[in-house]
């Protein structure tokens, strides 16, 4: 008995220590990135200039450290990617939740999981080898924000589809069958009953996809053209936030103004993604909560 309580205490305290360390590491990551950030990044720069108005010209005279162009490119790429992926993802969600026989679902679900597991750099490479030369036939350059957005759409597709399928199947069967029993079409029942009940879940999936897209680095780095100018259209070159950080950190002296600017950009990226994550959790809770009542 004594031995048993001894090993109990060991397992309990050991695992508690592990959990505490894991949570402390999160605090360390957030804290250290904050510690290494300066917003605005240098004396004589303003917050508005850093976020919106200044160009990115760290070697100019005077050096300019604006990341507005990168935010713009990120919003364009992620917005378009999610807009492209969502309709297909909803249809895949319908397929998984309503239409697919068990055998088909047993193939489709893990395959989508595999799609989510393909590394970003492989997506970037495939886009570089296929989409870029394809677009060069019509455009002056193939490496554009549009190109990055199309590949990013493929990357966020499985996340949105899985969340949509999950929330569609949470909608009570009685409601769906009740609607269908009234003789309406399946589309009518879906759009008026299932989709309405599942809307917070679908929204959660879309927002989750945006979070993934915001932090995505390699694919947009390889496909967006990586030029630090304000993008004037979707078919111009651009430099999303992650591509800016990945390109410039290697050229920045440690603890220079440029270094602080890049860490501040990283901090904003991290805070945005964590906020998005919290929002997704809340939306999902609301969906499950609504089902219980």
């Amino acid at each position: 008995m004594h031995a048993a309580t001894h090993s109990d205490a060991l397992l309990r305290n050991g695992s508690l220590a592990a959990l505490a360390s894991a949570v402390a590491l999160l605090a360390l990551v957030v804290g250290y990135i904050v510690w290494e950030s300066r917003i605005p990044p240098a004396d004589g720069t303003s917050l508005a200039g850093f976020l919106l108005f200044d160009r990115w010209d760290p070697t100019g005279q005077p050096p300019l450290l604006g990341i507005g162009h990168a935010w713009m490119a990120t919003l364009l790429v992620v917005g378009l990617a999610v807009a492209l992926a969502t309709p297909l993802a909803i249809l895949i969600g319908i397929f998984l939740a309503e239409i697919a026989p068990p055998a088909a679902r047993a193939v489709a679900e893990p395959t989508l999981q595999l799609l989510a597991g393909v590394p970003a750099v492989v997506y970037g490479f495939v886009g570089y080898a296929t989409l870029v030369p394809f677009m060069e036939r019509w455009l002056p350059t193939g490496e554009t924000l549009l190109c990055a957005a199309v590949i990013l759409a493929l990357m966020v597709l499985p996340f949105i589809a899985a969340t949509a399928a999950e929330s569609f199947s949470l909608v009570a069967r009685e409601l769906r069958y009740g609607g269908l029993a009234l003789g309406v079409s399946r589309w009518y029942a879906f759009s008026r009953i299932t989709l309405r009940k599942a809307a917070p879940g679908v929204l959660a999936g879309v927002i989750l996809g945006m979070g993934r897209g915001l932090g995505e680095t390699l694919a947009v780095l390889m496909l967006s053209g990586n030029s630090p100018l304000f993008p004037d259209s979707l078919v111009s070159r651009g430099q999303p936030l992650t591509a800016l950080i990945a390109t410039d950190l290697g050229e920045s002296a440690i603890h220079s103004d440029r270094y602080y600017a890049l860490f501040s950009a990283g901090l904003m990226l991290m805070v945005t993604v964590i906020a998005i994550n919290a929002l997704v959790i809340r939306l999902k809770q609301r969906l499950v909560g609504a089902e219980r009542h």
């Binding site: 048993a4 090993s7 109990d8 060991l10 309990r12 695992s15 508690l16 220590a17 592990a18 959990l19 360390s21 894991a22 949570v23 999160l26 990551v29 990135i33 290494e36 249809l91 319908i94 397929f95 309503e98 239409i99 893990p110 395959t111 595999l114 597991g117 393909v118 590394p119 970003a120 750099v121 492989v122 997506y123 490479f125 495939v126 080898a129 493929l154 499985p158 003789g183 309406v184 079409s185 399946r186 589309w187 932090g215 680095t217 390699l218 780095l221 390889m222 992650t242 990945a246 950190l249 290697g250 890049l262 860490f263 990283g266 990226l269 991290m270 993604v273 964590i274 994550n277 919290a278």
Partner: protein, 300 residues
């Protein structure tokens, strides 16, 4: 007057009958379209990963030889000749080393949440922190690893800095996977064990773990595979374009995903690059399929 009403009623019935026949046909057509659209969408979802792998195999299979896998790149930099062995070796070393802290803290934390914790508030708070950690982009981990490990700890760009950073990437995935797997164990089993008066450790080792281990192992393998394909965390912590030196804890290393990135940006989509992409994609998809099959063969 009565006649008029009858006439009205008759006309209305006829009209209703016609309309319901029309809507019935409309419903059939609409349902068929609905089903077709869903099947097509599902088909596209399945086809994309298959198409990516087939495309890479089509262009890259001819490059992948024993020599390609097990020799070093020739020339003084990346010129698309020779093999990718240093990248394979580097990737395995990075993930293997990174797994040590990730397993310790991930499995340990998951065990505490599932087996010992009785507080809902703590569970919610801890899960929120861990899920936030899982959502943080790899590039931000790379910044963190650069500032703390490479600069402040003076590790330089090195295998150890990259491995620890990859550990950060894997830790939340493993912790969440362990927690979920243990939580999914049938409560009746636990109650039965509890009624027999066994200790908490005994219950964990003899009741919960035997049921939950395949799901835990699957989440570990998927986390490792995710880290294996991640280039962003390595960019500022361990990556080098080219090295001939043997592995060393404090030396920069090549890795498969960063290698693919550097090769593509230096020499473009050549057969050598396709071969590198194929090796990386096949390795990751192959191991993921194995992990998913493992989970399916041993459902909770």
């Amino acid at each position: 007057m009565q006649n008029v009403i009858d006439l009205h009623a008759g006309a209305r019935d006829a009209l209703l009958a016609a309309r319901s026949a029309r809507t019935a046909r409309g419903t059939e057509v609409s349902d068929a379209l609905y089903r077709a659209a869903a099947w097509i969408a599902g088909g596209i979802g399945v086809a994309i990963p298959v198409a990516i792998l087939a495309y890479l195999a089509w262009h890259g299979l001819s490059a992948v030889t024993i020599e390609f896998l097990f020799s070093v790149p020739r020339g003084s930099s990346l010129d698309g000749t020779g093999g990718i062995w240093p990248a394979i070796k580097g990737s395995l070393a990075l993930v293997g080393l990174g797994l040590v802290p990730a397993l310790l803290l991930g499995i340990g934390g998951g065990i505490y949440l599932a087996e010992f914790n009785r507080s809902q508030a703590l569970e919610h708070a801890a899960r929120f922190c861990i899920e936030s950690l899982a959502a943080v982009p790899g590039l931000v981990y790379s910044l963190f690893g650069y500032a703390l490990l490479v600069v402040a700890f003076k590790f330089k760009i090195s295998l150890i800095a990259g491995a620890v950073t990859l550990g950060f990437v894997m830790l939340p995935l493993i912790l969440i996977g362990t927690h979920e797997a243990l939580r999914a164990v049938d409560p009746a089993l636990r109650e039965a064990a509890h009624a027999l008066g066994v200790s908490q450790t005994y219950m964990f080792a003899r009741v919960a773990l035997p049921v939950a281990w395949p799901a835990i192992l699957t989440s570990i393998v998927l986390a490792a595979v995710h880290a294996l394909g991640a280039a962003a965390p390595l960019l500022f912590t361990s990556a080098t374009v080219f090295t001939r030196e043997p592995l060393g804890l404090f030396k920069p290393v090549m890795a498969l995903p960063t290698h693919l990135y550097f090769v593509t940006s230096e020499i473009g989509a050549t057969v050598y690059a396709f071969g590198s992409a194929l090796v990386l994609a096949a390795l990751i998809l192959g191991v993921s399929v194995f992990a998913l099959l493992l989970k399916r063969r041993h459902p909770l």
